[in-house]
């Protein structure tokens, strides 16, 4: 039996709380009884030590003023061996099972960096706001008891230059929480650069919880976490051509990516359906190609999005889909200057393309390359400057293998286009984004050819699958719907092992060629009304798969995953449901 009189005494300064000590099997340091409205339901959560699960329990002695209750959030924070963190840290994890309260109105930040005019300084200021905003959001409409300890957050950053993600950037961090003299909670955040520090702040937000029984905001008294991602490319693709998404909805996407330590926003900006980008060189492409004058992205929109992403440690990879998947917007040239696009809106569409409207660039017209050059250079200016300026030696660009034939075309005949890409993105190699099924031989071939790859195998990562077809009564082509469990289990490592059993893999260290993966939201049947529900919480499963590369099954992660879903909901992300509420409240019973 343990004795927790001290910290309970500390808390009772602020609240009239009577403490009681549970019997040894289920003891949690915090349980409360009070006669507030919250006590209407005679329920408490108990930690089952062997299964490390929180058990919802009806309290028998409901009318006993001393009967002791623990809220679900507190139970999950303390009972779960990973402190309900998502994604699970990969290094040392030490969370003391004792909580203390903090005063959300009394938070100080200490930054010791050399140049207060630097970009880093500004980013850290933004990061502070980001942190406070999350707290405000999570605790809105909550009745928070007055008082609690001061929270002091101290940043220590070694590399002050790296402020945005480049291909090999270090995202490591350590996070230490200590309580000093029972009055100050000190958080030390130690990162190689801004990216790591940002991730540490993300982790910190997950360690702070609101307890609806005591009305206190609580944090573990002592924590040490060292953490680093397994895969460096952790992305989401959003298609803003089949449906338009407002700047606000894209910002919400970036928020939710940050909550899951996803770091790459692959922006499938254009397609044959619409051209929402207001190019400075060719503004008329949007005049012809946007759905309407309000459904466009101007330079200032894009800069706003880029900066918003940067604070969240997210880089943007814009995709101007070519040579197929062009159409609306490009007819401007045809109508007014010269034919650069073939088969535009050709009918019957099934003969000329895989989905209406058709269109493909005319690869033998030099005008095409002139236009692409200018568009690429705009993208470069808008998005890639960080990568270049911060010394990244690699630039990833787009997914050239929209189809096998296009890849082939790229390799064999389109050196001109390749040349332009090189000119303006100074890349010396291609990274192939693979969207075949996870068991396709093409993956082995590409690895053997020495390509670095990003996996978006559609059987696990196409989040538009499973809905009705948009033509006819059947289901869409990549059905069925993909549950979060499948995404969680879609391990690149395992994909390679499975391929190896069927095909020769000659690459020496094929796993090192897998930069990571991306989940894709194609927008034939989604727009900003269903953006959140399509992506979340499923893409959170990708977050842990890529950050942690867990060796354990999804079942082990389920409880934490559901907690992450609730966490995102409390931050205004309209997540879909992953499991029945009863199952969230009764862990281990829905199997």
């Amino acid at each position: 039996m343990r004795f927790f009189q001290n910290q309970i005494f500390l808390l009772s300064i602020f609240l009239v709380i009577s403490a009681s000590i549970e019997d040894g099997d289920n003891n949690l340091p915090y349980c409360y009884s009070s006669k507030s409205k919250n006590q209407d339901v005679p329920v408490t959560w108990k930690c089952d030590r062997s299964s490390k699960k929180c058990v919802r329990t009806i309290t028998e002695k409901d009318d006993d003023p001393l009967s002791c209750k623990t809220s679900v959030t507190v139970c999950k924070l303390l009972c779960d061996e990973y402190g309900s963190l998502w994604p699970k840290p990969t290094g040392i994890l030490n969370i003391e099972k004792e909580l203390t309260s903090i005063n959300v109105g009394d938070i100080a930040f200490v930054m010791t960096i050399s140049d207060s005019n630097s970009e880093l300084w500004n980013l850290l200021k933004e990061l502070q706001n980001y942190f406070l905003e999350i707290l405000r959001n999570s605790f809105k409409n909550k009745n928070i008891a007055r008082g609690g300890n001061e929270l002091k957050i101290i940043f220590d950053i070694k590399d002050e230059e790296t402020t945005s993600f480049v291909q090999d950037a270090n995202e490591n961090y350590t996070l230490t929480v200590n309580i000093i003299n029972n009055e100050l909670v000190e958080v030390l955040i130690d990162g190689e650069n801004f990216l790591g520090v940002r991730h540490a702040i993300e982790t910190l937000t997950q360690l702070i919880t609101y307890d609806l029984i005591s009305n206190l905001v609580l944090i573990p008294k002592r924590v040490f976490i060292s953490d680093a991602p397994f895969y460096k490319h952790r992305g989401i693709l959003l298609d803003t051509s089949r449906s338009f998404y407002t700047v606000n909805s894209i910002k919400r996407l970036l928020d939710s990516m940050a909550y899951n330590k996803l770091n790459t926003f692959h922006w499938h900006l254009t397609d044959s359906h619409s051209f929402p980008f207001v190019s400075k060189n060719y503004p008329k492409m949007a005049v012809y190609g946007a759905y309407s004058s309000s459904q466009v992205y101007t330079w200032s929109d894009m800069i706003e999005i880029r900066n918003y992403a940067k604070i969240r440690g997210i880089r943007i990879i814009p995709e101007l889909d070519t040579p197929a998947h062009v159409g609306e917007g490009w007819q401007f040239f045809d109508n007014e200057i010269s034919p650069v696009i073939l088969c535009y809106k050709s009918e019957p569409w099934r003969t000329y393309c895989i989905e209406p409207p058709c269109g493909i660039l005319n690869p033998v017209n030099d005008e095409v390359y002139e236009i692409l050059k200018k568009l690429y250079s705009e993208f470069n200016e808008l998005f890639e400057s960080d990568v270049f300026h911060m010394g990244g030696d690699e630039v990833t660009f787009a997914c050239w293998n929209e189809s096998e034939s296009v890849t082939k075309w790229m390799k064999e005949s389109s050196l001109t286009e390749q040349k332009y890409v090189k000119d303006f993105l100074t890349t010396d190699r291609y990274i192939i984004q693979i969207w075949t099924k996870g068991n396709n031989k093409q993956i082995a071939d590409l690895l053997n050819d020495g390509y670095d790859v990003i996996l978006s195998n559609y059987d696990a990562l196409y989040l538009d699958c499973g809905y009705g077809a948009w033509i006819g009564e059947e289901n869409n082509w990549c059905s069925p719907y993909i549950g979060w469990q499948k995404i969680y289990m879609n391990s690149p490592e395992k994909i390679i092992d499975d391929l190896r059993s069927k095909y020769p893999i000659t690459a020496e260290n094929p796993l090192s060629q897998v930069l990571g993966s991306e989940a894709a939201l194609w927008s034939e049947q989604a727009d900003e009304n269903s953006l959140d529900t399509r992506l979340w919480p499923r893409a959170a499963a990708l977050g842990e798969r890529l950050w942690t590369n867990p060796k354990t099954d999804w079942k082990v992660a389920e409880s934490r995953f559901l907690t992450q879903r609730e966490r995102m909901v409390s931050r205004n992300i309209a997540c879909d449901v992953a499991e029945m509420l009863w199952c969230y409240q009764n862990e281990g019973h829905c199997y």
Partner: protein
């Protein structure tokens, strides 16, 4: 400068209007190849084209009797809408009906304001003058309610007369909804203005009297706002029954005065409950939108959490197998729980529960008593039940358990009857093992039990039950279960499948049908997208029962979806936006 024109800055660009134009050709709105950069004739704007193109314009569901729409539109403004409400019935009873139609009119104006929400411009001082004449004091919506209406819109210089004639307030409200669908907005930079069709004549009435949507607040709690938003969408789609599957084994969110224990033990949290005030509020919100709420207290199966307190209060086991594991042995889905049919206190508690509900709901409202998926294995593993059966001389074979199950329903119905002072109203039950056509007559009286079938479209159950004279509500499982596609081997049914699902005729004994939004994998956030626009698809099947297939309805449905979004409902996208703009090119 470059070859294709000068570099213009963004501000210049924004001033440049993107405006393709659309022309109504062969009842399709066809997009022209070139964008017009100057202000063009408003009739060429897509949503206006859709408003006037084709015999049904943008009306959803399509009228069944007569429709004539002019191709001309006129700007109006929400501030210039006036009503003249008249009830031909003059006696005191008419007071409630008069009040209701007034509320319905206010909602109409509020919705018009939503339609033209951003900076709504007054282009002309046209007055929309709506005259409504009804001749009934009826304010309870039932299967017998006359929902027909006639709407006549006539333009006279700067005045538009809309004349709605209906038997009941509910018919008149449908007339208002149709009138609303004769309107759309035109966007001008950061402003809007409202236009409507100048002349129209519509005579309309529904094919089926029961046009429903089921929601489930037990698998997940749904916030009041979510339910109200859903009711709003229903009202605009002329769906008229919200089947509220309020309770299940997972949770019991109804906080009722006579037995607060049910919610105390059964709610997920103290915030996740519906008080009497909440329920009353919903019923009233629904009624003003032409929707009745039929509440379901599922029993005897699907009842667990919320019923655990019997023993501690000396009432014995009210529910058995509650949260029992391994669940597969005792129920179809965790958590398990079935009412204890041999405990007389169960009927006493049900009596209190029904009494509360009867007090809350309008007089004569129908109740749904559930009745599906009884796991015989649960009762068979409960000693007090098997002992009782032995004592009564029953065996433990399936037939005797069915007997016990039927005993439960008849006794529960009897309990309700006593509360209603022996008024015999029918109750609704789900189809089940107990309603197999070959044996149903043994267990359930066709005059007292209406069956809601949830069989697949290939099964004959519905037809066979109709032949025996049972009244039915149809929820075709492989077309109208909106929860399918997200778990197990189930398949998602798209709007076209929902639309093309035919059900037996009214004359055969069918009240209508319901699409079902079971709550296992949906809560406040995804509900809109799962339900809409698919529930609207079902509404046209039930209101109009069209002989044409879904393909003839697509562009009207897309306009309806746009309308729902303007009303604040996050309806799912069903087709790329390009296809919405390029009618006929995505087939």
């Amino acid at each position: 400068m470059n070859r294709y024109g000068s570099r213009i800055n963004e501000d210049v660009y924004i001033e440049t209007k993107i405006r393709y134009s659309w022309k109504c050709i062969n009842e399709k709105c066809v997009k022209t190849d070139l964008p017009a950069t100057c202000k063009s004739d408003t009739n060429n704007i897509l949503n206006i084209c859709r408003l006037i193109c084709g015999p049904y314009g943008a009306i959803w569901p399509k009228p069944t009797q007569e429709i004539k729409l002019s191709k001309e539109i006129i700007p109006i403004h929400p501030d210039n809408i006036n009503f003249d409400l008249k009830n031909l019935i003059k006696h005191n009873d008419a007071y409630m009906a008069d009040k209701l139609i007034k509320q319905m009119s206010e909602i109409f104006v509020d919705d018009v304001k939503l339609l033209c929400s951003v900076n709504c411009l007054k282009i002309l001082h046209t007055e929309l003058y709506i005259k409504i004449v009804i001749n009934s004091s009826e304010t309870n919506l039932t299967w017998d309610t006359d929902e027909s209406y006639a709407l006549h819109v006539k333009n006279n210089e700067f005045k538009i007369m809309a004349f709605i004639q209906a038997k009941t307030v509910f018919g008149a409200r449908h007339g208002l909804v149709t009138l609303f669908q004769l309107m759309t907005t035109v966007s001008e930079n950061n402003a809007n203005y409202l236009v409507m069709i100048k002349d129209a004549l519509i005579i309309d009435k529904p094919v089926y009297p029961h046009r429903g949507l089921l929601i489930d607040t037990s698998r997940h709690f749904l916030h009041l706002d979510t339910i109200k938003r859903t009711l709003d969408g229903m009202g605009h789609s002329k769906l008229n029954v919200l089947h509220w599957h309020a309770t299940d084994s997972h949770s019991f969110p109804l906080k009722l005065p006579r037995i607060p224990e049910l919610a105390k033990y059964g709610a997920y949290s103290p915030e996740q409950i519906y008080t009497v005030q909440d329920i009353t509020d919903l019923i009233s919100h629904a009624k003003k939108r032409g929707v009745r709420i039929i509440i379901e207290i599922d029993s005897p199966s699907h009842a667990g959490n919320g019923w655990q307190w019997g023993e501690s209060m000396g009432l014995g086991n009210l529910s058995v197998c509650v949260n029992k594991n391994p669940w597969r042995n005792y129920c179809v889905q965790p958590p398990c729980g079935q009412l204890n049919p041999i405990n007389p206190n169960v009927y006493k508690v049900l009596g209190l529960l029904y009494k509360d509900l009867v007090n809350i709901f309008p007089e004569g409202e129908i109740f749904h008593m559930g009745g599906d998926e009884v796991a015989i294995s649960c009762w068979n593993s409960t000693q007090e039940i098997t002992d009782f059966m032995k004592k009564e001389g029953m065996t433990r074979n399936t037939e005797d358990f069915l007997e016990l199950w039927a005993y439960f329903h008849n006794k529960a119905l009897h309990t309700l009857e006593k509360i209603l002072e022996n008024n015999t109203i029918p109750v609704i039950l789900w189809s089940s093992q107990l309603t197999f056509p070959e044996s149903i007559a043994k267990y359930l009286d066709k005059k007292r039990f209406i069956i809601q079938t949830w069989t697949e479209s290939t099964e004959n159950t519905s037809i066979e039950l109709l032949e025996q004279g049972y009244k039915l509500i149809i929820s075709t499982k492989d077309a109208w279960y909106l929860d399918h596609g997200f778990y197990g081997n189930t398949r998602y049914y798209n709007w076209a499948t929902v639309y093309n699902n035919h059900i037996p005729e009214v004359s055969k004994g069918v009240y209508g049908g319901e699409v079902c939004m079971w709550g296992e994998y949906v809560d406040d956030f995804a509900l809109d997208a799962r339900v809409w626009p698919r529930a609207a698809s079902a509404s046209e099947r039930l209101w109009s029962d069209p002989i044409t297939s879904s393909s003839a309805a697509l562009y009207r449905l897309l306009e309806h979806r746009e309308r729902l979004i303007k009303l604040g409902i996050k309806a799912e996208a069903i087709i790329p936006e390009w296809c919405y703009e390029n009618e006929g090119l995505c087939e």
